[in-house]
Symmetry: C2
Amino acid sequence: MTTMPKKPKLTRETIVEAAIELIESEGLDSLSTRALGNRLGVQAMSLYHHVESKDVLLDLITARLATMIEFGDHTGNWRCELEAVSRSYIDIARRYPRSFPLLAARRFNTPETLPVLERILSIFRRAGLPPAGTAASFRILGYYLNGAGLTEGATIEAERRTDFHLQDSGFLEGFPVSGETVAHLALPNLSGIFEKGLEVILDSIEDEIRLTRVNRPHSV
Amino acid sequence: MTTMPKKPKLTRETIVEAAIELIESEGLDSLSTRALGNRLGVQAMSLYHHVESKDVLLDLITARLATMIEFGDHTGNWRCELEAVSRSYIDIARRYPRSFPLLAARRFNTPETLPVLERILSIFRRAGLPPAGTAASFRILGYYLNGAGLTEGATIEAERRTDFHLQDSGFLEGFPVSGETVAHLALPNLSGIFEKGLEVILDSIEDEIRLTRVNRPHSV
DNA sequence: CCGAATTGCCTTACACCGTAAGGATAATCC
DNA sequence: GGATTATCCTTACGGTGTAAGGCAATTCGG
């Protein structure tokens, strides 16, 4: 049945891993089948025996990033668990700023990512939220995390660049409020801002749960 | 000096307008210089006399979308103003779901977009927040709005598709929590969720402003 | 009023992209 | 040891962004 002729140089995993490395070092636009093959010591078309298309490759990258989400200890404290998931998620954006847009843009609806979705949604459900409340709170938190990840990633990218920095471009002339604000939008400030916004959203989820308990004390 | 030989068929504005139409009808990936030229009855290279490169074109599209933000009446009520800006922003995502990712990914640091940034930041400042607080609140709200816009746009896109719908794909088998939640994540529910999250964030800004007033009652 | 200059659009060309089709090689099984 | 089959390669096609240069129409200087 499972004959295995010729020892393989390539696997799905090594391809995905190399693709992420390539994106991080050269940028998302520079991920081409030829460049990726080159990095793996292989011709472009060889990749197609392991991955059906570039679009599927992007899905696999998304899945690889999604499964990096760490859930921490299963404490039974939903707030700690959501905090852990959220920090783990933003950490992915910080470590893979150029790949993160894939994670933010694509849904968690592949077989590889659904288990992750399931675990996250379960935290909300165990916290006492009904399906509708779970959907709402999940979306709101997700909006925030994706936006934060994208912006932090873009900021990392922008501050790495040497060719253009808004601060000394002169563009800010005539925009005094922007001028006095940009310094506070720099990378070192963003983690504090992230934590602050995260607490705001978790507080609101806490309110929602309390409200649910009052109105439907015994249902789940 | 400014001789004007030959009446032009093309202007920057018509090019940008056509590009947005093309993206919305065919998708972001289908925006090519040749396709765009074709839509304008012109060869691809003719565009380059008006726009330096495709990247600049994307910047112009971003600026065009950004300037669609409506600020409503200048009431002096910061909360109403931020609500108006936020709703106007998500409206852009809903009307231009396939172009919106450009707006979410690119910064407001071109000459065309800076006036918009300035007006938005001014709302926070006039509300009584110092520069650092302005930066934080602006970012948090921005994270939320960008995430919401992206997800709503992606949802619109996904529900338009006929080839794949998660609900009847069978993928959800074995993921009961996801299964009972997806229905609540459908497009009709998203506007309610958006409003809810928006109020949460505006409430937190209100708290922040109040706190600022207490600690530094007379400074701006 | 006519040549010169300039602008707006076009033609051609190049390197790169994703990928369809089919070929060569080497490890395994019967 | 011959057939099978998984892996990788070669070639080729139509698409991409865009650099270089050409040509025609309009306006200006004389």
